[in-house]
Amino acid sequence: MGRLDGKAAVITGGSQGIGRATVELFIAEGAKVVVADLLASEGEALCDRLGPDCVFCKTDVTVEDQVRNLIEVAVKRFGRIDCLFNNAGILGQTGGIESMEVDRFDRVMASHGRSVMLGMKHVAPYMKQQGFGSIINTGSISGIQAVSAYMDYSAAKAAVIHLTKCVAMELGEFGIRVNSVSPGQIATGMGKTGPDALEKAAVLRELNKTRQPIPRSGMPEDVAFAALYLASDESSFVNGHDLVVDGGLIGGSSWTERQRMSASVHGALQRQA
């Protein structure tokens, strides 16, 4: 018996990384899943591999019509929607406030804040009608701490975490829970595709070993298990919470140590690019 038997979920950014690990886990636990992503070939291959309970829907999560359509696809296909995991997002820009590219800033804010808002906006009516639902938004520890190296990303994730709590206050009484999960340093290929994504994940897996108190990199599965807990009925009284999966990072090492480590990671990634 799976922990998500009979449930239907939509997972955005599901083609790779944390999203993909969550798709795989949810399917293994008995859920039916709509995978949304811009990366169509990866997403379609994933769904082919996982069988008929997993369908792909190419979606730009910053476009309202596409998000509305995504939710409709899930409801039409599976007759219900128990969980929406708003996980898609893009990387921020490096550099300080003076070199901020304004268009890029808007895209980063939209990919996190606007997309999460749109997902919640369009899933809420269905979940209210059911009297049940779990919305999970991907925050980040950089939405809790101020990361000046990625300040647009950091600010966008703070918006995600706070919007989560606001909507949790609105929807709680309808039996809908809204929570976020904030990953720490996770080895994924975010921002890259194909072999480059794999290479980036491998590099990070090595570099992240010493970046937090638990001496290993976070893995997509670590976050997927947190999402499973939040999606399942086991968390039916957890609402408005930001669940941090970071190996103890925000509890932390000294700033000096952390800055030294960050510098070495950014240097290595730049060499890879």
């Binding site: 968390s235 970071d246 103890g248």
Partner: protein, 265 residues
């Protein structure tokens, strides 16, 4: 499905329920651990209460035994660890559920030194003592999970409850500090902050509602953003997640199981 705590050994301190027959957070957690395959040592100051939990687990076919201990006393905690190692050979999980509410409702001027010592010792010092008794065995094996039951009172003050709030804030900080200290040794430490719960411990709150239990339940339900209180099973399921290997990258976290109470303006 594989049981999620298969082969693990848990000590649940405060495994009996207030009023013996009810279902508190500690009892529900012990039951869930056993259902998921753990062998559970049921520790309580009130042996009769721990025995009730034992009966419930054994009726379901689980493995456990009851043990009387005062977790404020180091000698009792050392005996507890010795007994657990003797019975089960290892300790994977320490679940600190023991806690009391202050006898008096009021501020600093309504609280005497003895009451301060009592509440801080039961709610905070006990977790320090049980942890320090259990840690050497966990360190030796390079793995372990400690879970402390805190309260939303740690982060949100309520008038008249300052001493409880102080003790639970201490639990949160103790949790984060221990997590940081032992993360590289394979030991995780997390806490749960239950919100407004429908459990036996809050039964005595009815005196604030004119002794009317139903009125108390109704008003407490209304105060919660989900318009209902939580159940002991909610805390037990959160505990199961945090002590299981599914949360092996989560440490130093304080999980609110409060229906959104802490977000409420």
């Amino acid at each position: 499905m594989q049981k999620r705590l298969k082969g693990k050994v848990a000590i649940v301190a405060g495994a009996g329920s207030t009023g013996v027959d009810g279902l508190g957070n500690g009892k529900a957690s012990a039951v869930v651990y056993a259902r998921e395959g753990a062998s559970v040592m049921l520790v309580d100051l009130n042996l009769e209460a721990a025995e009730k939990t034992r009966q419930m687990i054994e009726q379901e076919g689980g493995t456990c035994f009851a043990f009387q201990a005062n977790v404020r006393q180091r000698s009792d905690c050392e005996a507890m660890v010795q007994k657990c190692l003797q019975e089960y050979g290892q300790i994977d999980i320490l679940h600190n559920n023991v806690g009391v509410e202050p006898k008096t409702f009021g501020g600093v001027l309504n609280t005497d030194d003895a009451e301060w010592d009592r509440v801080i010792n039961v709610n905070l010092k006990s977790m320090f003592i049980t942890s320090s008794a259990v840690l050497p065995s966990m360190l030796e094996r390079g793995s372990g999970a400690i879970l402390n039951i805190s309260s939303v009172s740690a982060e949100r003050l309520s008038p008249g409850l300052f001493l409880y709030c102080v003790s639970k804030a201490g639990v949160n900080t103790l949790t984060k500090a221990m997590a940081l200290d032992y993360a590289d040794k394979g030991i995780r430490v997390n806490a749960i902050m239950p919100g407004l719960m429908d459990t036996p411990m809050v039964e005595r709150h009815k005196e604030f509602y004119g002794g009317d239990r139903e009125k108390m339940r109704q008003l407490r339900n209304e105060r919660a953003p989900m318009k209902r209180m939580g159940e002991a099973w909610d805390v037990a399921n959160a505990a199961l997640f945090l002590v299981s290997d599914e949360a092996k990258y989560i440490t130093g976290q304080v999980l609110a199981v409060d229906g959104g109470y802490l977000c409420k303006p």
